[in-house]
Each structure stands twice: as structure tokens, then as C-alpha cells.
Symmetry: C2
Subunit: 234 residues, 2 copies
């Protein structure tokens, strides 16, 4: 009775690093093709052999993290999904840290974040989240799940397409080429910055905006490569 309660209540299972990586892979594959995930696909994603996958899937199934019928593929249980999102949350928060605080380039952070995501400490990740100002998205523009495993539904629009007066958090770039990212860097515009639109120059479509309170003038080309998060009400 108590046991049942523990499992379905909020008690965390301690997962090994390998288990965590499998769960994460299964989550990502599940997203792409929303059917059952195949053994081979997991093996491919994890860079292991299918037989290793079968073993691990058996283990995860016994732990209640995945559903599995022999020869029929795998899907995450609710517990497994929560676990995956917890790891993804850590990964993405660490990526924000690496880029915003340690000045890594956005395309240099993945490998290190793959290690950092396995650090076990709830206090750490909550304090990190606060330290970073509760960012909505990681440096690639991917949304950061909340503590309890939900994504805030992010509705994003190109800056060039919002009406004047609209404001919101910059949640992504359309063009992720190096020159464009360098431009943003030079002009101190970064993902998760708060942007207000002030005025549009009609004849060339350029925009006067405020980035974290600082006034900036950007061309239409720039504006049409930046995504703004739009609030529900808008």
C-alpha cells in the first residue's frame, strides 16, 4: 500500500547515466514519429547494438519507465516522459548557462551539456534556473520544460510580423548562420532578451525596438529573422 503510493507519488527513481540517455533518446524518437519506437532506431540514436537496446528496454520496462511488448517497439510511460523532460530541462538550462555566462558559442555547448545534464541535485537546477532569470528557451531556441515536466506553450512570431507596441521574449532565430549570429552578438541582442517594438519605418520596414530597455534600430532583414514569444492574450 505504502509501496504503491510511493511509486505513483512523487518519489524519484535513481537512474543510471545510461538509463537516462536511453530515456532521452526514446523521448526524442517518440517526438519525431509519434508511434512506437523501434529497437533499431534506438540503437542508431544511441550508437549501440540492437541487442544492447533490448536488454536496457527490458530493464526500463521493469522500472515502469517504458511500455514494451516483445517484437513490438517501445513507448514512454508517463513516468518515463517526466524523467525525459527532467533531463532535457537540465540539458537546456546548462546550455543557457554556458552561452550566457561563460561565453561559449551556441554550437559549442552540446557536448558539455551532455555531461552536465546528469548531475544529480534538485537544488542545483532550481538555483541555476533562478540565476539565469528563468529562461524560456535554450540557445538553439528550443523550449525549456518546467520543473514539473510541462512545456509552456510558446507561440512565436517573426519580429517583422508583430504589430507595433507588441513586446515579448526573443525565443529564437530563423537564420542561424554565423554572420547573423555575429551581428546579434555585436548588437547585444540575445535569445531570452526582452524586446519591445516602438516604431516601424514604413518606407524600408526597419524597426525601432527596445532590447532590455536599450533602444536599437534594426533593418527589416534582421527583424524577419528573429522570433518573439507572443503572450496568449495577444
Amino acid at each position: 500500500m505504502l509501496y504503491i503510493k510511493c511509486i505513483f507519488g512523487g518519489v524519484k527513481k535513481t537512474m543510471t547515466r545510461s538509463e537516462e540517455n536511453y530515456i532521452k533518446s526514446i523521448y526524442h524518437l517518440d517526438k519525431v514519429e509519434s508511434a512506437m519506437v523501434s529497437t533499431n532506431a534506438i540503437a542508431e540514436e544511441m550508437q549501440t547494438k540492437p541487442s544492447s537496446v533490448t536488454d536496457m528496454v527490458k530493464k526500463l520496462s521493469e522500472k515502469g519507465m517504458v511500455n514494451h511488448k516483445r517484437y513490438k517497439g517501445v513507448s514512454l510511460t508517463e513516468i518515463g516522459r517526466k524523467a525525459a523532460l527532467s533531463i532535457i530541462r537540465k540539458h537546456r538550462l546548462w546550455e543557457v548557462f554556458l552561452v550566457e555566462k561563460l561565453d561559449f558559442a551556441w554550437d559549442e555547448v552540446h557536448e558539455v551539456a551532455e555531461q552536465l545534464e546528469h548531475i544529480k541535485s534538485d537544488a542545483l537546477i532550481e538555483k541555476l534556473d533562478a540565476h539565469l532569470g528563468f529562461p524560456r528557451v535554450d540557445p538553439h531556441g528550443d523550449p525549456i520544460p518546467s520543473k514539473d515536466g510541462e512545456f509552456k506553450k510558446v507561440i512565436k512570431k517573426l519580429l517583422s510580423e508583430v504589430e507595433i507596441g507588441a513586446e515579448g521574449v526573443c525565443v529564437g532565430v530563423k537564420d542561424s548562420s554565423t554572420p547573423f549570429l555575429k551581428f546579434l552578438d555585436k548588437n547585444k541582442i540575445a535569445i531570452n532578451d526582452y524586446i519591445k517594438t516602438i516604431e516601424k519605418e514604413e518606407f524600408d520596414g526597419s524597426l525601432y525596438i527596445e532590447v532590455n530597455g536599450r533602444k536599437v534600430h534594426i533593418s527589416n532583414q534582421i527583424a524577419s529573422n528573429l522570433y518573439l514569444e507572443i503572450k496568449e492574450a495577444e
Copy 2:
């Protein structure tokens, strides 16, 4: 020939987490009693059985990290010592991060730092060091080894005992009781802060100091519980 060069040149051996922990334990034990380190002592420190230690010592010995003669105890080689200091450097830098940036209490950081110290990325640790302003000591006042495995020799004096006009980095506390630490917190005096002595009030020994440019008046009791790093020349 090339092989030899590689070993003695700066080529890093990839160490497992367990190997790193053994090397660190041996380093700490070596510090305390500067003779050979015993198998039992390592087992005690690592919370394992002596037979496990024998196995690991054999492995580390083959990798050239420790010297070992059967039944005679263990000592670190130069390579092993460097490896130990590299791990300690990471541990202590992470501790500074946790306390200064994430607001952990100084006595809450050890467990998490034990995990973070094993993250493998040179770029990460150098960028972290810069982000933290190249701290000299960790939140416990222990010195942080440099990148190449040296300690900057820290000569420390109680703030109450330096002559007026002296300045330096606050590198430790004598009293580490909670009330004292709370006091420091409230008065925004922290380890690694830069402190200048301005004037001493003769009749009660209280001190006027500057902490990172901000003027503060502290009693003699406070001054006699804070350590300042004194430059060679002084």
C-alpha cells in the same frame, strides 16, 4: 620514442570517474602523513574494501599515476599529482560558483561539487575560472591550484594583524560558525573580496576598511577572524 614523448609530454590520459576519485583520495592522504599511503587508509577514505583498493592501485600503477611495491603502500607519481590537482582545481572552482553565483551556503556545496569535478572539458573550467574572476581560494578558504597544477603560495594574516594601508584578497575565516558567516553575508563581505585597510580606531581596535571599493567599519573581533592574503613584497 614518440610514445615516450607522449607520456611525458602534456598528453592527457582519460581517467574514469573511479580512477579520479582514488587519485584524489591518495593525494589527500599523502598530504596528511607525508609517507607512503596504506591500502587500508585508502579503503577507509574511499569507503571500499582493501581488496578493491589493491585492484585499482595495480591499474593506476600500470598507468603510471602511482608508485607501488607489493605490501609497501602507495605514493603519487608526478603525473598522478598533477591529475589530483586538476581534479581539486575543478572541485574548488565549482564550489566558488555554487556559493557566489547560485547562493548555496558554504557547507552545502561539497556533494554537488563531487559530481561536477568529473565533468571533462578544459574549455569549461578555464571559462568558469574567468567568469569567477580567477578566485584564489574556495568557500572553505582552501587554495585553488592553478591550471598547471601549482598552488600560488598564499601567505595569509589576520586582518587585525596587518599594518594600516595593507590590502589584499580575503582568503578565509578563522571562525566558521553560522553566526559569524551570517554576519559576513549581511555585511556583504565574502571570500575572494578585495579588502583595503584604511584606518584603525586605537581605543577599541576597530577597523575602517574598503571591501571591493565600499567603505565598511568592523570591530576588532571581526577583524581577528578574517584572513587576508599578503603579497610577497609586503
